[in-house]
């Protein structure tokens, strides 16, 4: 088997390694494919669907689809951008995102992808659901108003920390994150040093006493759009 796979993204020829997903190969090549649930150190979850690309004309999630020789991938097209904007809008309106007092604001990946896509306001009305906040843990608090069900905490706690502190419960629009206890986060063995406490892309899993440490203007996505760090790899 050859140790290199050649394919194209938006007409640009890319070389990747066998076993890589489209997203991994694109990242290495300095091409940004918008994404939310994907985390480079965790198994891909494939739930947000923001990284949907067309592979030989067929929609696939770039984070779970392996590369293959000669495939053509479309990524940066007006149609896909519209679909991605629709998905981002859905994620906003299914939760309660009050960015102005959110600890994650400026470093939040959901917000950042929305900025990058130029979204001024979601085009759907907010659903204003009732969601729980759990501040019982001494070092961590959980605000489900902002959860995008990316599964990172579940995966990290189960397979990196070996604890299983988080799981999904319920289905449909009622699906949510639950903790491995009768009710409260404090009754789990989650520790502030766990991977699971570190991976949330939004302001749901927060470490207490760390908020607003970085001033506006210096936060991750204040000046440069999310994905710039990937695009800078391209020479």
């Amino acid at each position: 088997m050859s140790d290199q796979i050649t394919f194209t993204i938006d007409g640009v020829s890319i070389k990747g390694k066998p076993g890589q997903t489209i997203l991994q190969a694109a990242d290495e090549a300095g091409i940004y494919i918008p994404r939310l649930c994907y985390h480079p150190e965790l198994a891909p979850h494939g739930s947000c669907r923001v990284c949907t690309v067309l592979v030989n004309g067929k929609p696939q999630a770039a984070c779970t689809q392996p590369i293959s020789e000669g495939m053509t991938v479309e990524n940066d097209t007006p149609e896909l951008k519209e679909h991605r904007c629709n998905i981002i809008d859905m994620l906003f309106i299914e939760g309660n995102h009050f960015c102005m007092f959110c600890e994650k604001s400026g470093n939040c990946e959901l917000q950042a992808v929305a900025y990058r896509l130029g979204i001024l306001a979601p085009k759907f009305s907010y659903l204003f659901p009732k969601k729980d906040v759990d501040a019982t843990h001494p070092d961590i608090f959980l605000d489900l108003n902002r959860c995008i069900l990316c599964g990172r905490c579940v995966e990290a706690s189960k397979n990196v920390d070996g604890k299983g502190a988080f799981e999904f419960v319920g289905r449909s629009i009622e699906k949510k994150i639950a903790v491995n206890a009768e009710a409260n986060l404090k009754d789990t063995n989650l520790a502030v040093t766990d991977k699971a406490a570190d991976v949330c892309p939004v302001g749901t899993i927060n470490k207490k006493r760390t908020a607003f440490a970085v001033p506006i203007g210096k936060r991750l996505y204040d000046k440069k759009p999310i994905g710039s760090e990937i695009e800078e790899r391209k020479k």
């Binding site: 102005m100 009305s125 907010y126 204003f128």
Partner: protein
């Protein structure tokens, strides 16, 4: 040719967006060259005097008066802009949106930890506008043409947007100006 007119209002907002508008600093002089202000807290004109090119709305609708004012704006303005997160999605006032109104009033006036209200009175003068069951973002009440996010939106986005709208240019906002906080 007469200058186009703009109108502004603050509904269930904190006037932060208006402060931000004033924050355009010396460009306010240029703005005055471009437009006349009609109904607005800036000049304290209380009722519309005529048709306006642009209406800037700060805040969502928390009570009946907010709804009334917003509807008046829609009737009098060619372009209506939701300015700031409260106008766009209700924001802090909308945090009450999944709590019944009665509970909100009780918490605010009777049960809140910092409340001192020995007579147990919930204000109810007939001059007071009635509360809505929840806070409605502006676009749920009237058609909104543009949204400028931020809490508040910074002066530059307001300036650039206004100039674009008043000079009929497309609204193209640079990355650094789009912020939801």
């Amino acid at each position: 040719m007469a200058k186009p007119k703009i109108a502004t209002t603050s509904l269930a907002g904190c006037f932060g967006c208006h402060m931000s508008l004033l924050d355009i600093d010396e460009r306010i002089l240029k703005l005055i060259e471009l437009v006349d202000f009609d109904k607005s807290p800036v000049d304290d004109i209380k009722e519309f005097t005529g048709r306006c090119a642009v209406g800037l709305i700060e805040g969502g609708c928390a009570n009946e008066d907010n709804v009334h004012v917003l509807q008046e704006f829609r009737k009098h303005c060619d372009i209506l802009v939701a300015v700031g997160d409260c106008a766009i999605m209700g924001d802090i006032p909308a945090m009450r949106n999944n709590i019944p109104l009665k509970e909100c009033l009780d918490e605010a006036y009777l049960n809140g930890p910092s409340t001192y209200n020995p007579e147990k009175i919930i204000p109810n003068d007939k001059e007071l506008p009635l509360c809505l069951n929840r806070v409605y973002p502006c676009h749920e009440v009237v058609k909104i043409d543009y949204s400028l996010p931020g809490c508040p939106p910074n002066a530059d986005i307001l300036w650039q947007a206004l100039v674009a709208l008043l000079t009929n240019k497309p609204l193209e906002l640079p990355y650094e100006l789009i912020k939801y906080d």
